[in-house]
Amino acid sequence: MTDGVPARQLWRLHLEIRDHMPLWQQMLVVGSGVAAGLFISVCVLMTSGVGLSALWNEFVVFIFTNPRNLSAVMTQSAPLIIVGLAAAMAFKVRFWNIGIEGQMIFGAIGATFVATFDIGPESLRLPLMAIFAMLGGMAWIALPAILKLRLQVNEIISTLLLNYIAFNFLLHLLYGPWQDPVSSFPHSEQFAVFERLTSLNWGKLDFSLVVALGLVAVSFWLLISSRFGFLLNFIHSNPLMARAMGVRVAVLTLIAALSSGAFAGFSGFVVSAGIESRMTQSFFIGFGFSGILIAFLARNNPLTIVAVSLFVATLMIAGQSLQVFYQIPFATVQLIQAIVVICVAASEFFMRHRIRLAS
C-alpha cells in the first residue's frame, strides 16, 4: 500500500481500485455479506439463550409449514414493501429521508381524520382515507424538502427531528381528542368495516399486499423505464452535471421527495386500516429503519425490494414469537437488520477493490 515498507515485513497487501465487477461476482459478494451477517446474528441469539434447534423451528419450520404464519409474513411484507419504495424514491435523488416514521404517523392521522369525522360516502371512504394519508405524508416531508432545497438545511437531521415531533403529536391526539370513546384506551376508535382493507380470506392477509404489488409495478415503470427515472438516475450519479445539462434538479428532487412522503404516508394508512384496524401508539415502530435497510439492500430496485421485504417480514414475525417464548426484546429484530446492513456495506469494499498479497 505504501512505498518504503520496512524490510522486515515479509508480505504486504496491495489494494487496487476495481472499475467493474461481473454481476455474478457482485451477487456472490453481497450474498456472502448477508451470510456473514446472519451468522453473527445466530451467534448473538444463541448467546442470549435461544438454541440452534429453536432458531431453526422459529425461522423455518414455524413460518413455512404453517399457512397461518406464512400469511402473517405476507401481511407484514405489504407495508414493508411500501416503506422500501418510499426510501428508494428519496435515495434516488440523494435525499436522505430518515423521517419515514413521522410521515407514516401523519399518513395514519390523515386516514384516521377521514374515518373519525365520517368524511365522504361509505363507498368512497377507503380511497379518501388513502388520499388523505398520502397528503399527510407529503405535508410532513414538504418542510425538510423545501428547507434542503432553499436553505441547504441537512435533511437527515430535519426529517429525524420531525419524527419526534410527529410522535408527540400522535400521543397528544391519542391521549386527548381522538382517544377511543368505547374503551378509553389511548388508541383511536376502531375503523368501521368499510374503512378497513378487505380481507383476502387467507389468514390475516388483506388487500394491502395487492396494493403494495401494484405500487411496485408503478414504481418499476417510473424508476426503471420512464424518462423521469432516467433523470433521477442522472441526478443520483452526478447532480452538478445534470444541472449543467439543463435538468431541473430542484424540481425533480422535490417531486421525488414528495412521492417518498406520499408512499410513507400510504404505508401508515395500510398498517392502520389493515393489520391494526385503528391508529395505535406504536403501529409505525421499526418501519423507518426497515425501509432504509430494504432500499439499501435492494439497491433502490422495486423488484428486489419485494424480495428483501419478504426477508425482513420473516424476521419480524419470527421476532414476535421469540419475544413471546424466549423473552427476547423485539428490538433484537432491529439489531439483526443492523448487523446484516453493516456486513453487506462492508462487503462492498471487495466489490470496489482488488486485494493482492505481494511478497
Binding site: 436553505l151 441547504q152 438545511v153 415531533i165 403529536f169 428490538a331 443492523a338 453493516i342 456495506a345
Partner: protein, 310 residues
C-alpha cells in the same frame, strides 16, 4: 425569583451531556468524518453506566469510565467501516444507531438492568461557598462532572487550536490529499479522532444514567444524539459556541418539567416537542445567517482513498 434560581441551578446538569457529546463530535468531524452515530454511542454509554452501577454499586467514576470505554469500543467498529473499508459514512452512522438501539435493549433486558433504579453520583458540597445565596446554588453545588466538562473543554480546544496534533487533525479534515502528501498519516488521525469522539459521547451517555436519571430505560437517549449533531452544525464546529448551544438546550430541558409550575397551560405533549422544535428552528436560523457555509471541515463526509488521489 425562586423559580428562576431553581431553574438555572438545574441547567448545568442538563447541559453536560450536550456539551460533552458536542465536543466529541467536533473532534471527530474536524478530521473529516461525519459521525451520525451519536445517538448510538449515548445509548451504549448510558446502558453500560447503569449496568455498572447496578452490579458494582457505589463506584460512579468506574461506571462513567466503563461507559466511555464501551462507547469507544463501538466507535472502533464505526472507524473500521468508514476509515478502512471506506463505507458510506451516512449509512454506517445510521447502522451504528440502529445496532446500538437493538443491542442495548437486548443486553439490558437479558441482564435485568431495565427499569431498575440505583443511587448515582451526587452534587459536591463546598461548605460555605456552596451556601452563598443564588451564586452558590448555581455555580458551586453541582456534580463533579460539570466541572470536569469545563476542564475538558479548555484542554480540548487548546489541543485542537494550539498544538501540532490539533493542526494536523484540522488539516486532515480540510484537505486529506495534501496532508497525506505532507507525510501525515491521514487514516491514523481519523481513527484516533473517531475513538476520542466515542469516549466523549460515551461519557455523555454514562452521565445520563449515572448522574441524571439513575435508571436505565430502553431508548432513553430520546433523540439527544441528533440534537447534538444539529448543535455542532449550529456551532460551526467551534467548541465554545457548542458549549453555549449546550447551555441553551440545557435551559430548555430544565424548563420542561417546570412549565406547568409557571402557570402556562400548554398540552404536555407540545411541551415535550420543544427541544426538537427548537433544534429545527436553530438549524434554519444557522443556514439563514451569512456565515452558513464557512468553517465546516471541507472533507467532511468524504472517505480518503489514496489510490484515487488526484
Amino acid at each position: 425569583m425562586e423559580f428562576l434560581i431553581n431553574w438555572l441551578a438545574n441547567v448545568p446538569g442538563f447541559a453536560v451531556p450536550f456539551a460533552l457529546g458536542a465536543m466529541g463530535l467536533i473532534i471527530c468531524e474536524k478530521s473529516g468524518v461525519l459521525n451520525l452515530g451519536a445517538e448510538g454511542y449515548l445509548l451504549v454509554g448510558a446502558m453500560i453506566g447503569a449496568g455498572s452501577m447496578l452490579t458494582l454499586p457505589g463506584h460512579p467514576y468506574l461506571a462513567l469510565t466503563l461507559a466511555a470505554l464501551a462507547s469507544a469500543l463501538l466507535s472502533v467498529l464505526f472507524a473500521v467501516l468508514v476509515v478502512h473499508l471506506r463505507v458510506n459514512q451516512v449509512i454506517s452512522g445510521l447502522a451504528i444507531v440502529f445496532l446500538a438501539q437493538g443491542l442495548t435493549s437486548l443486553v439490558a433486558g437479558k441482564m435485568g438492568w431495565t427499569n431498575r433504579a440505583f443511587s448515582g453520583l451526587g452534587d459536591i458540597d463546598l461548605g460555605p461557598i456552596s451556601d452563598i445565596p443564588v451564586i452558590g446554588l448555581i455555580f458551586f453545588r453541582q456534580d463533579p462532572i460539570v466541572y470536569l466538562t469545563i476542564a475538558l473543554f479548555i484542554v480540548a480546544s487548546y489541543v485542537i487550536y494550539r498544538t501540532h496534533a490539533g493542526l494536523r487533525l484540522r488539516a486532515v479534515g480540510e484537505n486529506p490529499e495534501a496532508t497525506d502528501a505532507a507525510g501525515i498519516p491521514v487514516l491514523t488521525y481519523r481513527f484516533a479522532a473517531i475513538l476520542i469522539g466515542g469516549l466523549f459521547l460515551g461519557l455523555a451517555g454514562g452521565y445520563l444514567t449515572v448522574v441524571v436519571s439513575k435508571i436505565w430505560v430502553d431508548n432513553m437517549a430520546g433523540g439527544r444524539g441528533w440534537i447534538i449533531i444539529a448543535l455542532v452544525i449550529f456551532a460551526r464546529w467551534r467548541p465554545w459556541r457548542a458549549l453555549g448551544g449546550a447551555i441553551l438546550f440545557g435551559c430548555i430541558e430544565a424548563l420542561i418539567p417546570r412549565v406547568a409550575a409557571i402557570g402556562i397551560q400548554v398540552p404536555q405533549y407540545f411541551v415535550l416537542m420543544l427541544p426538537y422544535a427548537v433544534t429545527l428552528a436553530v438549524m434554519i436560523w444557522t443556514s439563514l445567517s451569512k456565515e452558513a457555509l464557512s468553517n465546516d471541515p471541507s472533507a467532511l463526509g468524504r472517505p480518503f482513498v489514496r489510490e484515487e488521489r488526484r
